[in-house]
């Protein structure tokens, strides 16, 4: 694209996005999204569904600007509850609990919130720039990812993620396996066989991810904390503006994680069917791998907070690329966006960018304005959010449980899912007591079904030839990387035990 046409498009976009009406819908969207993101359990899907009928009556551009604002706004808010309360606002913020909550316990909640907000803004902006300049190229590459590539990528994901947990590696792997096993529940799309449904229609589509995430992270945390009520807890009410200011070390540590997180998030966002949750897990795994001090992770490493949060914000922006340019929505929320387009008689695809330049570029520019609003809105709010910690347990925790129930119910309007929360909360409690980490289970549950589905599809397409995974260049490369990662992990483990033995020998 030529510079002049880009400038022309940007100015069309800005003039559309900055019109008073659109600015209003943008503000409304991001504000609602942020609030919804903060509240545990209630995600963007609920708000977008509720506001869908309204969009029939307003201009398509304004409608999309508002719904999109809710969508990416909720990713900003999602980390807030994760950091402050160890209860993720949305499943894709579950990773932010791992290091965000320890930071809060150390009295550094303000720093964590500020750095994730800044990181989210940078990541969102990178996602937007990619959408502006590289949509056609990114779509072409996304289409190169077929079943073999998805499968290999998920294998890489599982191997990389086996290091997420900071406790015993064996327990981490066990939880991944348990997650994959739970992912078996539901209808097998290849044979229409119902697996482990026990006669409950609520299990025909598998175990609700939101229910498990909220049970294992949200309710478990609440119940576990009840044990320590009365003990001294960190002082949230004493946070001053000064405590929000990150040290030079914090900033230095965050720069590259934000950029790496943005890159990882942008990548997964473009691939339909993956998205923010997988991206945030991968970003965390990468940070832990590249860190010189991986032992800090799980104990309040700022890299472990900013990188995954940057990743899920970038993914939320780039997820618009396949939706708008191909009409292929990567998630349920994106499918709703698509239906708004279609109800207004607009056809997604490459022509949308040309024939409805005001809509496409107006939307893209509104993303940026929305991200800016979120940044400006969030920083003063940090002080307020931190005050949440001062709310007494007996008021705060019942409220969390209530929101979790409402949120989980609202996804499928299903009371069954609320019972699932109860069951998995009990399981989660015992997991916590026995120090089995929940994050690997969640990842296994997300990756397992994708792996199975894509593996079997790859087998159909190759007529049962396993070498298809090596012969496809992208897939082969990913598998080689996986192997290298595995070898390196084994070797470094071996070396460490050698060193330990050596020190023991010298000591004696």
């Amino acid at each position: 694209m030529e510079i002049s046409s880009i400038i022309a498009n940007v100015s069309i976009g800005l003039s559309t996005a900055l019109s008073l009406t659109n600015l209003f819908y943008c503000f409304l969207g991001v504000f609602l999204g942020m609030l919804i993101g903060v509240v545990p359990g209630i995600g963007a899907l609920v708000a977008v569904s509720l506001l869908l009928p309204v969009t029939f009556h307003i201009d398509a551009t304004a409608a999309l600007i508002m719904l999109a604002g809710i969508y990416y706004g909720s990713a900003y808010g999602g980390s807030t509850a994760a950091i402050l309360l160890n209860v993720p606002g949305t499943p894709s913020s579950a990773v932010a609990c791992l290091d965000g909550y320890p930071m809060a316990q150390q009295g550094r909640a303000g720093v964590a919130l500020l750095m994730t907000t800044v990181g989210s803004f940078i990541a969102g902006s990178i996602g937007i720039l990619l959408m502006m300049f590289f949509s056609p190229i990114l779509v072409a590459y996304a289409l190169k990812f077929g079943p073999t590539e998805y499968f290999s990528l998920m294998v890489l994901g599982l191997v990389a993620a086996s290091t997420i947990a900071s406790g015993s590696p064996v327990k981490g792997v066990a939880m991944v396996v348990l997650g994959v096993a739970l992912g078996l529940v539901g209808t097998d799309i290849y044979t229409a066989t119902l697996r482990y449904d026990f006669g409950f229609p609520g299990l025909y589509d598998g175990i609700s991810l939101v229910a498990i995430a909220m049970a294992l992270f949200g309710v478990t945390e609440v119940v576990f904390s009840v044990r320590s009520v009365g003990e001294a807890r960190f002082k949230g009410q004493n946070i001053r503006m000064r405590d929000m200011i990150p040290t030079r070390d914090d900033v230095r540590r965050s720069v590259f994680p934000i950029l790496r997180g943005s890159a990882i998030g942008s990548f997964f966002g473009v691939l339909p069917g993956t998205g923010g949750l997988i991206a945030s897990f991968m970003a965390y795994a990468v940070e832990k791998r590249v860190s010189k001090t991986p032992q800090r992770f799980g104990h309040g490493a700022i890299e472990g907070v900013v990188s995954p949060e940057s990743a899920n914000n970038a993914a939320d922006q780039t997820a618009f690329i396949p939706t708008m340019t191909l009409g292929i929505p990567g998630s349920v929320v994106m499918a709703i966006m698509l239906s708004v387009l279609i109800v207004h008689g607009l056809v997604p695809g490459p022509k949308l960018m040309v024939e409805h330049a005001d809509l496409f570029w107006g939307l893209v520019m509104s993303f940026w304005i929305g991200n800016l609003i979120l940044l400006v809105l969030n920083i003063p709010l940090i002080g307020l959010w931190v005050k949440v910690l001062a709310v007494p347990y007996h008021l705060l925790y019942p409220a969390i449980i209530m929101f979790v129930c409402i949120g989980v119910y609202s996804v499928h309007n299903s009371a069954f899912d609320v019972w699932l929360v109860l069951v998995f909360s009990v399981a989660g409690y015992f997991m916590r007591v026995l120090e089995f980490p929940a994050a690997p289970l969640l990842l296994g549950l997300v990756l397992g079904p994708i792996m199975e589905e894509e593996f079997r599809r790859a087998m159909i397409l190759s007529h049962g030839d396993l070498s298809t995974f090596v012969h496809h260049p992208i897939s082969g490369t990913i598998l080689a990387m996986t192997l290298a990662l595995l070898m390196w992990a084994i070797w470094s483990g071996f070396r460490r035990s050698l060193q330990r033995r050596a020190t023991e020998v010298t000591a004696s």
């Binding site: 569904s49 009928p53 077929g146 339909p272 990567g330 499918a335 279609i342 499928h412 159909i460």
Partner: protein, 330 residues
């Protein structure tokens, strides 16, 4: 004595008819809940919301859409099964809930034609067989017969996608294979977006899809072509594309639909009134162009009795198709 019983019975009966007429007269005097077996933004959901606005304009009463997606529409059906049969709780589902589930799910906890009173068909899906041939072939000039020949000469080279076993998108191809001896390999996907991605990437060559605007665009751009349409009389959006009868073989009898149901026992005058409203809405071409045709549907309505008769035929048709596809039924 006997006369007394008859008299009481007569009074009760008359009374009932009177109240049900009275009910229909005032109906609706509060919001009507429609449980949709679809998520927000899905095709059934959008359709019902759009109908709801028209009904509100007619009667002043809101249509409250309750989304119960997934679970093969069983949760949606169960939610309406035991609702009060007063016309204030309706069910909007597709052939999956009513015709296919009894054939495919063991111990299904509802009996469609016993537990529900049909109100009206709303729409039929406007399908077409979308085709993009393998690289290096002049597929743009192929007819369905050419494709069949190619698949016989190159077994295992032509893949078709579907959105699941027993879905229309699956059965159509199994029937075609059965009728023509074509060698197509089935690749199921979890939903139409995933299938569309695969088609765009050249992973699959064939899929049956609702002809919404973006799919139509794909044909207009020359990325794919429509080989056949299932509807008798063709698809109005795709003039010149042959029907299954013409292009494949005679006798394909699968037409996906979406309809309205009430709990069994809902007074007939109320069912009739609801059907009347739907028929009126569906006859407005300006409205249907935006909310029905644009989404790839064809507006069709039928009186409660016609709908019941239609459903009685629907089950054996599906059963025969499932048998052809080699799917075990109850």
């Amino acid at each position: 004595m006997l006369g007394g019983v008859a008299l009481i019975a007569a009074i009760v009966l008359v009374g009932q008819t009177n109240t049900s007429f009275a009910q229909a007269e005032n109906y609706p005097n509060k919001p009507i809940h429609v449980v949709a077996g679809d998520g927000a933004g899905g095709p059934i959901d959008i359709l019902n919301r759009a109908i709801g606005e028209q009904i509100q304009a007619m009667t002043g009463q809101k249509l409250v859409i309750e989304n119960m997606p997934g679970g093969r529409q069983v949760p949606a059906a169960m939610a309406v099964k035991d609702a009060a049969p007063d016309g204030y709780t309706l069910l909007s589902v597709t052939q999956n809930a009513i015709t296919l589930n009894p054939l495919l799910i063991k111990n299904l906890r509802y009996q469609p034609l016993k537990d529900f009173a049909p109100i009206s068909l709303l729409v039929n899906q406007q399908h077409a067989i979308s085709f993009r041939g393998p690289e290096g072939t002049n597929w743009k000039n192929w007819t369905f017969k050419d494709l069949v020949e190619y698949s016989k000469a190159n077994p295992g080279k032509i893949f078709f996608g579907s959105i699941g076993i027993g879905s229309g998108s699956h059965l159509a191809f199994e029937w075609m294979k059965h009728k023509t001896g074509a060698r197509f390999t089935h690749v199921p996907y979890a939903g139409s977006p995933a299938m569309l991605r695969a088609f765009r990437a050249g992973e699959i060559h064939l899929f049956q899809v609702t002809v919404s605007k973006d799919v139509k665009q794909m044909y207009d751009d020359g990325f794919a072509k429509a080989l056949a349409v299932p509807n008798k009389g063709g698809n109005p959006r795709l003039p010149g594309v042959p029907t299954y009868d013409e292009a494949v073989a005679e006798g394909y009898a699968y037409l996906p639909w979406t309809g309205w149901f009430a709990p069994a026992g809902t007074p007939k005058p109320i069912l009739a009134k609801l059907h009347g409203m739907v028929a009126k809405i569906m006859s407005d071409p300006k409205w249907t162009e935006r909310f029905v045709v644009g989404a790839g549907f064809l507006p069709v309505t039928s009186s409660p009795d016609e709908f019941r008769a239609y459903l009685a035929n629907d089950a054996p048709n599906h059963k025969a198709l499932l048998a052809i596809a080699g799917i075990k039924t109850n």
